[in-house]
């Protein structure tokens, strides 16, 4: 058991991200020192913010949840050879659709909440499928269409909110009906009113579904084949275009559920947005750090959630500006993306490992 754990943590695929995180934290520390801040105190207060109180811990989980969804969304498309920059827009569409269902319908909880989530998921999925369709039917690069669809989603949502859901002179929509709220009351109480909701459980289930769908089903077989070699897939009789659309749709579903849970579990309303929520963009980094595997995405989201929620702790406890924590996050991404550099740093470690085995 012990050696097995050791093996997991010494495996190349684990060691490199871990080393990247460490290097990122060190780089951040250097920046802090340069700015006249105490990095140990700063990281200490980051951890204190996250783990120091049950409220902080609960809120960190709240922060992690949408990142799992958007990370899965990006990773899923990536497994099919597509670069989904559009998790942001799909997330917004999920928020909007679930807000609409949550506000406008009056149903029992057992129907209302699931319905709002499903409609939110579909809205995200269809939003992704637009990019998939344009790629399949017209050959338009999905990177470009998804980026543009992000802005379209943002302004479309603001328009719908303004026109139908937000009372005159307000920034926020009406609250969703009690029956559509997925906050877990007793758990929130346990965590000192942290906004905990069923979405976290859904996110973990989504990660399992991600795995089963890709590696255990016929659909997943096709999706992976198309992602790895579209020519061979075409030769083998798979419909490449259909699979491209499927992949973007399913990716969009993940992001859409994420958006729905954010509305129904955290805010209970939707506000007119002056900027994108940012979970979709962070999802790209989460997928990258997680190596596009479901477990990796969950771990990547945890890391990201801790860093971004703990950022205000750094400000509070050590006076470090919030901008600096973004430097740390960016450094981590940089080192994960630049495997080569990381490998160079951990070369002695890898060599020793080889000798031992």
């Amino acid at each position: 058991m012990n050696s097995k754990i050791r093996n997991i943590f010494l495996a190349d695929s684990t060691l490199v991200p871990l080393a990247a995180i460490l290097l990122g934290l060190i780089t951040g520390a250097i920046f802090m020192l340069a700015g006249g801040f105490d990095p140990i105190k700063a990281y200490g207060s980051l951890l204190d913010k996250v783990f120091g109180t049950s409220y902080g811990f609960g809120e960190t989980i709240r922060q992690i949840t949408p990142l799992i969804f958007t990370g899965l969304s990006v990773a899923f498309a990536f497994r099919t050879g597509l670069f989904n920059i559009g998790a942001e827009g799909q997330f917004i569409m999920g928020m909007l659709a679930s807000a609409y269902v949550g506000i406008s319908f009056d149903l029992p909880f057992i129907i209302h909440a699931p319905l709002a989530i499903i409609i939110g998921a579909l809205a995200g999925g269809l939003w992704g499928a637009i990019a998939g369709y344009l790629k399949a039917a017209r050959g338009v690069n999905e990177v470009i269409t998804t980026i543009m669809l992000n802005w379209t989603a943002l302004y479309f949502a603001n328009f719908i909110l303004n026109a139908f859901l937000v009372p005159q002179g307000k920034q926020n929509s009406e609250p969703v009906k009690e029956s559509a709220i997925i906050t877990i009351g007793w758990l929130s109480d346990m965590f000192d009113n942290a906004r905990l909701h069923w979405g976290t459980l859904l996110a973990l289930i989504a990660a399992v579904v991600f795995y089963i769908l890709l590696w255990k089903t016929k659909t997943g077989f096709e999706l992976r084949a198309v992602g790895l070699n579209p020519h061979a897939s075409e030769y083998a009789g798979m419909n490449v275009n259909k699979n491209v659309m499927n992949a973007m749709f399913i990716g969009g579903l993940f992001a859409g559920i994420g958006g729905a849970c954010e509305t129904l579990g955290v805010f209970h309303y939707m506000s007119i947005m002056s900027a994108m929520p940012g979970y979709g963009m962070d999802g790209i980094a989460v997928a990258l750090i997680g190596g596009n595997t479901p477990i990796g995405v969950v771990l990547g989201a945890i890391l990201f959630g801790i860093l971004s929620f703990g950022a205000s702790g750094m400000k509070f406890g050590a006076g470090v500006p919030v901008e600096l924590i973004r430097v740390v996050i960016a450094s981590v991404i940089f080192f994960v993306a630049a495997h080569g550099i990381v490998r160079y740093f951990i070369k002695p470690l890898l060599a020793r490992q080889k000798e031992e085995s």
Binding site: K216, K218, F221, R224, A225, L228, N229, E234, Y235, G237
Partner: protein, 512 residues
């Protein structure tokens, strides 16, 4: 005479990859001015050894001496500095760039801040004159033939001052004419004082140009001999480890009804002009129809049209009497057509899929593998294990990604998969390209076995030997049309060559 300098010496080289010892204590001595062949089957470890010499891999054991001095070749730049150049099997050229631009890439002569293209072009022209490597320095790579591109690769190494040139399977991609020209080039290079190491498994070439040959089998040196003292049969036996039969044994064909009928089919090529021009022919049950032709006369487009990968503009394709024109690849495949694609990496395999997954690439949706949308991986693995055993595919495990297998074993796996579908028509496009004699023999036997079972086989190949040996009838394709169908026993290479170049048409040949 015996005091010729040793330019390359590799001593006790050992290189391991997970699950395999690629090079096991290999010794190699190459003298100045010789053409030294490295002979071995695919996966024997020739390329690994040369990649070590070129600095792409580091050996676990052993040492390398260049010009009798021990050296550490840690990367290709070090190899370049030591005067070692490599011409890879897959060219590393930037297609939209000109010949000169490709040659100077990474080594550009500067005039101030600008690249001095003119003087570079002059130097390239001089080099190509000196070594009789005729190329147009200002032509774009995408516009010149494969043979020309290879010359650019050779010029690239010469421009960087290489004295030792490694060629990795240089003839695999060339037409017979181009092979002939390459052999002249190699002779010229030696005359100019270069030393050449040739990785190959083609005995004909070794006998034609090489001075010495080192035979490698399963990572070990079997022998190192002077070419003048050996013969092809002996070399083949040493390479494969047993006697090899060069002649294809087969009985007379007993053709029956037509399985495939191609009737006046026209299709566009990638450049939007007709690649197939009203082409018509039949393939009958129990025969192998070989299609001979110079590369680029519509062979690839013909296969794609037959398999549903390319749209047919006019005409009809019938399989077993049923029309399959412009049906989807899956419908055609399910109607009884199997296809060994000409490019196994592009079409034949998903290289990052396991062997097991690759074996069901076209059949994963069958009820035996798929229950309600979930794949039964036990059944898939069992299926793969059976095929891999039956067709002698050498892989560490059925879960190994296809990428890790040698070309010959990849091809065997594809053939296993295609034959296992029990098709009425088997299309084999360049089935032995880049393979060694052992694998070629195996594949030819399988094709004839299918024929003898009463299947129709359509063989496309650029190698005339193969077409002549294996086919029961030979159709010659020229500019998207069949210009004649001949009996291999009653024709000669000369006659076929004439037809392939459009010099002769046999009227009414369509009936065979």
């Amino acid at each position: 005479m015996e005091q010729v300098k040793t330019v390359v010496e590799m001593r006790g080289i050992t290189k391991r990859f997970p699950g395999i010892v690629a090079n096991d204590n290999i010794n190699l001595v190459v003298k100045k001015g010789e053409i030294h062949a490295l002979l071995g089957e695919n996966g024997a470890g020739k390329s690994t050894l040369m990649n070590i010499l070129f600095g792409l891999y580091q050996p676990e054991e052993g040492e390398i001496l260049i010009n009798e001095k021990v050296v550490q070749i840690t990367n290709p730049n070090v190899a370049n500095d030591l005067g070692i150049g490599m011409v890879h099997q897959h060219f590393m050229l930037v297609e939209p760039f000109t010949v000169t631009e490709n040659i100077i890439l990474g080594n550009e002569p500067k005039k101030g801040m600008k690249i001095d293209i003119e003087s570079a072009a002059k130097e390239v022209a001089e080099l190509s004159k000196r070594y009789k490597l005729m190329v147009d320095p200002m032509a774009k790579i995408e516009d010149i033939s494969v043979g020309m591109q290879q010359r650019v690769e050779i010029l690239k190494t010469l421009y960087r001052g290489a004295d030792i040139l490694i060629f990795d399977e240089p003839t695999a991609v060339l037409t017979p004419q181009e092979i002939h020209e390459l052999i002249e080039i190699l002779k010229n290079l030696v005359k100019e004082g270069k030393t050449i190491i040739l990785i190959t498994h083609k005995l004909k070439e070794i006998m034609a140009v090489c001075d010495k040959v080192t035979i490698i089998r399963r990572g070990r040196v079997i022998d190192s001999v002077t070419v003048a003292d050996t013969n092809p049969d002996d070399l083949a036996a040493k390479m494969v480890g047993r006697e090899v039969n060069f002649k294809v044994d087969k009985t007379l064909a007993t053709p029956k009804e037509a399985i495939l009928s191609v009737d006046k089919v026209t299709a566009l090529g990638n450049r939007g002009v007709n690649a197939l021009n009203q082409i018509s022919f039949d393939v009958r049950a129990g025969e192998i129809l070989g299609i001979a032709g110079v590369d680029g006369n519509g062979q690839s487009e013909l296969i794609e049209a037959l398999t549903g990968l390319r749209k047919v503009q006019e005409g009809k394709i019938l399989l077993n009497g049923k029309e399959i024109t412009n049906h989807t690849p899956r419908v055609i495949s399910e109607s009884g057509l199997s296809h060994i694609p000409e490019d196994r990496h592009k079409r034949g395999l998903v290289l990052d899929f396991s062997m097991s997954e690759n074996m069901v690439l076209e059949t994963y949706f069958y009820p035996e593998f798929n229950k309600g949308g979930f794949l039964n991986y036990d059944a898939i693995d069992k299926h793969a294990a059976k095929l891999i055993e039956e067709f002698d595919v050498r892989t560490p495990s059925i879960h190994t990604p296809a990428r890790a297998l040698s070309g010959g074993n990849q091809q065997k796996a594809i053939i296993a998969r295609e034959v296992n579908k029990d098709p009425d028509l088997l299309i084999a496009a360049q089935p032995t390209r880049g393979l060694d004699v052992g694998a070629i023999e195996f594949i030819h036997r399988r094709l004839i076995e299918q024929r003898d079972k009463g299947k129709a086989v359509l063989l496309l190949s650029l190698e005339l030997d193969e077409i002549m040996n294996v086919s029961d009838r030979i159709a010659v394709i020229y500019e998207g049309q069949i210009v004649g169908i001949v009996d291999p026993k009653q024709t000669t290479e000369q006659e076929l060559g004439l037809m392939m170049s459009g010099g002769k048409t046999i009227q009414g040949g369509g009936n065979g």
